[in-house]
Structure formats: C-alpha cells, structure tokens
C-alpha cells in the first residue's frame, strides 16, 4: 500500500474530529473527544484479536463478544473480592487492583478462547457458513452460561476510588478513568505493532495474513500460531471488556452480544487483518458515537452504520485491508 493511501484514513479521523469541533462548544468538544478516544481504545482492545484472526485464518468468530463478557465479569469479581484496594485513595493501590483485574480477565477469556478453539473452531476451518452458524450459537450459549455463573442481574463494578472524578482542563471535564483507559489502550496498540513489526512471530503473522499457503510452504506451522493468536485475541478482548465494565460501572451477561454490532463495524471499517486499521476504526467509531450521542442521541448507531457504509463505498475492503485475499 502506497504511503499516501495510508495517510488518508488518518486524515479522515482528523476530519471527523474537526467536524465535531465545529459543531459544538470547545469545552464539550474536549470532553467528548476524550471520551471518544477512551471508548475507541477500549474498542480497539476488544477488536485487535478479532481482526488478526479474520485476516490470518479467514475465521469468522461471531462469538468474540463472549470473551468481552467474561472479561468484564472477571473484573467485577476481582473488585468485589478486593474492596480495600478499590476503596483506597492511593493511586498505586488503585492501579494494582486494576492490573489484577486485567490479568484475571485476560486469563479467564484466554482460557475460554483456548477451549473454544480446540473444541469448536478447529472443526470448521475453511467453512465460512458453518463458522458463522457455529459461532453465533456459541455466543448464545456463552451468554446463557454467564447468567448461570453470575446470575441474571446486572453486577455493579466499582471504579477504584482514586480513579473516580475528573480533571478540569480548559473548562472541559475529563474523567480520570478515561485518561487511564486511553493511555493503556494506546500502550497496547504500540506494543502490538512492535511485536508485529520486529519479532519473528510478528513477521510470520503478517505474512500469513497475506498468503497463508506460502508461509506454510516456507516451513512454518500456521495452525499452532493461529491457536496462539486466537487465545491472545480472546485475552485482549477480555481486558477490553474489563475496562469497559469498569467504565460503565456495571456488567450484564448481554454485554458481549450488545457490543457485537459495534465491534463488527470497527473491524469492517478497519479492514480484516489490519491492526492499524482496527485502531483507526475504533477511534473513528468512538468519536462518532460520542459526538452524535451529544448532538442527536437517537442517531448514534445509525451514524456509525452510515460511517461504515461510506467507508465501504470508498474502500470496499476497509481502510487498511491487508493482503490479496
């Protein structure tokens, strides 16, 4: 992809931000942009694995939301079990409990991903129809299992005390937690890009996204790699779910299903197999949701769909789609 082609999507992001800037008072714009960026970062975490799995193995996992749900519940459980750390005013302890929650979420969702790939996904490699059907069924089963484990009611998730409240910046209210979430998401993005760019595994994954067969013909086993990417993607989604639940202060069993449409929109906008694309897509969706949510609340979902439709008209394979498939 030529460098100019890569720049245009970034310009699109700036354009949306500029439109938002023009449409509302500065303070509101700043608050909403921060909110949008944070939301985008969390969406990115949820989606990064999904797009790589699509790109690498052509596997459609409609059950990806299940990893989000389980991660969210894991976080809620961790907070409930460590109330002293949550209630503490010290930033260090707050970040600690947040880290523990993230690790727990990653482990739980990662384990779920491992089991799911082994038992179900393996049987339907290469059969798109059956993949869609199987994973749709799995999403339903996962949601029901979440209800079995954690009950049908919404579980409150308390933000650690030190992270509640907001900063006042140039007249705009910016929640502390949002800043943490945004920073963390950005850090994961940079880490992922570095792994992909500089490690052998990263190179193999990127090559595999372009031409799986050739990578195998060069002597690399793609199957175990794929299983690894699947589990990593599930773990990341779990962390994303944990952060989302902390932000929303509540988690229900339907969290994953509710977010499914949104994460698909992000993946489609970004292009299958592109981490950078899903990063941009996530930010776009985050900004659009927040801007439109302020200006015309009822049109939020619709505007995301219009965004997706316009991008597909411009680039039918997404903003930064990888490979020749």
């Amino acid at each position: 992809m030529k460098p100019t082609e890569r720049v245009l999507p970034v310009l699109l992001l700036l354009l949306i931000a500029a439109l938002g800037f023009a449409a509302m008072p500065f303070a509101d714009w700043l608050t909403l942009s921060a909110a949008g960026l944070a939301m985008g970062m969390m969406l990115f975490l949820m989606v990064a694995g999904l797009t790589l799995i699509f790109g690498l193995m052509d596997v459609l996992n409609f059950a990806h939301g299940a990893f989000i749900t389980f991660g969210a519940f894991a976080a809620g459980t961790v907070f409930a079990k460590l109330p002293q750390l949550v209630a503490s005013d010290r930033l260090g302890e707050n970040l600690l409990v947040l880290a523990i929650a993230a690790v727990a979420a990653a482990l739980l969702s990662g384990a779920l991903g491992f089991g799911f790939e082994r038992v179900a996904i393996r049987r339907v490699y290469g059969a798109h129809l059956r993949q869609i059907l199987l994973t749709t069924g799995a999403l339903i089963v996962a949601e029901q299992l979440a209800i079995v484990i954690w009950g049908p009611d919404a579980i409150p998730v308390l933000k650690p005390a030190g992270l509640r409240g907001s900063f006042l910046v140039a007249g705009a209210v910016i929640e502390k937690y949002r800043v943490v979430a945004a920073l963390f998401g950005f850090f994961v993005f940079v880490l992922l890009q570095m792994i992909l760019a500089h490690t052998r595994i990263g190179i193999i994954v990127r090559a595999g996204v372009e031409n799986r067969e050739m990578v195998e013909a060069l002597g690399y086993r793609i199957r175990p790699l794929f299983a690894g990417v699947f589990v990593a993607g599930a773990a990341l989604a779990g962390i994303g779910g944990a952060m989302w639940a902390t932000y929303a202060a509540t988690v229900t069993a339907s969290l994953g299903s509710d977010l499914t449409v949104l994460i698909f929109i992000v993946v489609i906008i970004g292009g299958l197999g592109s981490v950078g694309g899903s990063f941009l897509g996530a930010l776009l969706v985050g900004l659009v949701t927040n801007y439109v949510g302020f200006l015309a609340p009822k049109l939020a979902l619709l505007s995301n769909i219009l965004l997706m439709a316009s991008i597909l008209l411009w680039r039918p394979r997404g903003l930064l789609a990888a490979g020749g498939r």
Partner: protein
C-alpha cells in the same frame, strides 16, 4: 399423458406435481410432514382452546418464515441476519395501516402490499450489497442493518408506537367478536378466530408449495449452482447478481407476508414481536436443526422449535427440581435457561450433523439405496 389422467397412477403423480417432484426424501421425514400438515389443517377441530389454535397458527407462520430463510441460506448460500427486518416490515405494514386506517379490508391489503413491497426492495438492496463486499463483511453488515431496524422501530413511536407497539382491530370477518353461527359446527365455533386461522393456514400452505415449485425450477437449479461455485456460474453465463437479487426479493416478500399474518393473528405488533434478535436466532435454529436446503427441514424445525419452547421449560423445571441439592447443577437447568440447551443443541448439529434432521435422513436413505 392421456394414460396418466385415467390410470390410478394419476393421483400419485398429481401429488408429486403438487410437491414439484420434491418429496421429504425419507419415510420418517414424510411421516413428520404428513402429521404436521394434518394437525395444522385440522387444528381448530383437534384443539378446544384458543391458545392451542394460536400456537398452531404460529407454527404455520414460522414454517413460512423459516422456509423463506432457507431459500436464502440453503439454496442461495447467503447468510443474512436481517431476515427479521422483512418479517417486521410486513407486520408493521399491516399494523400501521389498520391502526391508522381503521379495520377495513382495503387498509389490510394496502398495508400488506406496502410492507411486502418495501421488504422486496430491501431484499434486492441486501443482495446487491452482498456482491459489493466480501461474504465475511456481508453477514456482519446484515447484523448491523437489523439492529438499525430495531432501533428505528422503537424510536419512531409516532409511526410505529415505539416500544409499546401498535394495537389495532382487524376486519370484521377476522375479528374474534364475529359470530355468524351461534351453534358450533362439528364441535367447532365458527368465529373470527376460526377464519383468521384458516386464512393463515391456507396462505402458509400455498406459499410453501410455491417455494417448493421455485426451488425445483430451472431458477432454483441456477441458485444451487451459484451456491456451489459462484465464479463458475458467472462464467457459464448466469448473472449472479440477477439471481441473487430475485431470490432475496422473493425470500423477503414471503417473510413479509408471514409478518402480515403474524400481525393479524396477534392484532398487535411491536419491536419485540417481530424484530428481535431472538427471533432471528429461532429462525436459524429451525433451519439448521431441521436441515438447510431442503425446505421440509425448516418446516419440521419450525414445528419442533415452537413446541420446544412450550415443553422445554416444564422439562427443565423438572430437572431443576431434581438437581436442587446441587445448586451449581440446578442453575443450568433453570427453565429460563432453555436457550442454553437449544443453543447447545444447535452447536452440536452444526458440528456433527450439519445436514440437519431432514438432510441426515435423506443422506441415510441415499446411502442405503446405493448399497
């Protein structure tokens, strides 16, 4: 030709022609279908209560809905999650027309026609979309479009009645208060409900037979060729875009008719009644468990699903009480968790019996025949 009309073979060949030469394909499947048709045909005579008859009507409606989805999924190879949109369009067409225009046949026909027309157009739009973007994207996009439909229905409450939906009266002939004969005939009360039921049953039957005719026609064969290998079909000169659009439009129109019938049955329509994702899941389960690409499969699947939804919950209740001493186990059997078990069954079918009930039965028969 002349011989056929006079010989005893005529009746058999007439039956075969009625089914467009496409039989269930296995004695068990044929038996199930025969029972289904019989029960549906005689429901008001067989069942005393209104609830049972309403359930039978629901089965008939879902048979059409599932079969129309099979046209897309099983015969054209399109995985769309927006099918409930068409269902809802038909239902809302009728609901809006009768709510605002009063309980007249004119309003009913106009509303139905509008719903069906919009659904068909939307169906074509979706087909065009499927060719513009990759298959992977397509399914995801239909999911998004279905959500938009739901949101619009609940937001535009001036038109659609919002979350509460629309309640309305139906034309007199179909209304429950219509009593032409004070005495029951053959133990059956002839009233508006009776008429409504048979309207639904007859239209469903006709639509199903039409679908059979469609999939066994040259059009249907081309659809199957496209499903097998799109490139090859195109190379052979069949314009995939035309066939897909037509199939999609027909499936959409039939789903809309089913929706119109549903609205008539309930004399009400709301977002949850026709547009919810759980209905989409139900349709998927019906078609896949019953057997994709067979039409009879979805019919049997529809009947099974509707029945399951009634009987699964008491069955789970029983198991829940049985395992009460083990709260973890008991939680899995809570009657509210019927979707867990159906979902699980669905996954098993996709993994191990992808051909579904009817498909597996047919394959068995073929296996034994070729031995």
């Amino acid at each position: 030709m002349i011989m056929r009309s006079f010989s005893p073979l005529f009746r058999r060949s007439f039956g075969l022609r009625l089914l467009s030469g496409d039989t269930p394909g296995h004695p068990v499947a044929s038996a199930l279908m025969a029972v289904l048709v019989f029960v549906l045909a005689c429901a008001p005579l067989l069942f005393p209560g209104t609830r049972a008859v309403a359930t039978a009507a629901r089965v008939a409606i879902f048979v059409v809905l599932a079969a129309s989805y099979d046209l897309l999924l099983g015969y054209t190879g399109i995985v769309s999650f927006a099918h409930t949109l068409f269902f809802g369009l038909g239902a809302y067409g009728v609901a809006i027309a009768l709510a605002s225009g009063g309980p007249s046949w004119g309003a009913l026909v106009a509303g139905s026609a509008a719903g069906i027309g919009v659904a068909a157009l939307l169906g074509i739009g979706i087909a065009l979309l499927s060719l513009r973007v990759r298959a992977i994207f397509f399914s995801m996009i239909t999911l998004a479009v279905a959500s938009v439909g739901q949101v619009l229905a609940s937001q535009l409450h001036d038109i659609t009645g919002g979350e509460d939906g629309l309640t309305f009266s139906v034309p007199r002939l179909l209304s429950p208060s219509f009593h032409p004969l004070s005495e029951p005939v053959l133990g059956v009360r002839i009233d508006g409900r009776f008429n409504t039921y048979y309207l639904i049953f007859i239209i469903s039957l006709v639509l199903f037979l039409l679908l059979l005719r469609l999939v066994n026609s040259p059009f249907g064969r081309v659809l199957r060729a496209i499903r097998e290998n799109e490139f090859r079909a195109e190379a052979l000169g069949y314009r995939v875009i035309v066939y897909r659009s037509l199939a999609s439009a027909i499936a959409a129109a039939m789903a809309a008719i089913a929706g119109a019938l549903m609205a008539l049955l309930l004399r009400y329509n709301g977002p949850a009644t026709t547009l919810s994702f759980s209905i989409m899941i139900d349709i998927l389960l019906m078609v896949v468990i019953g057997g994709m690409g067979t039409l009879y499969g979805p019919a049997i699947g529809a009947a099974l699903m509707v029945l399951a939804q009634y009987y699964l919950e008491p069955a789970l209740q029983f198991l829940a009480e049985l395992t009460a001493p083990f709260p973890w186990l008991s939680a899995v059997f809570q009657p509210d968790r019927w979707l867990l078990w159906l979902g699980f069954l669905f996954m098993l079918v996709v993994m191990y019996f992808p051909a579904g009930i009817v498909g597996s039965l047919r394959a068995r028969r073929l296996h034994y025949q070729t031995r």
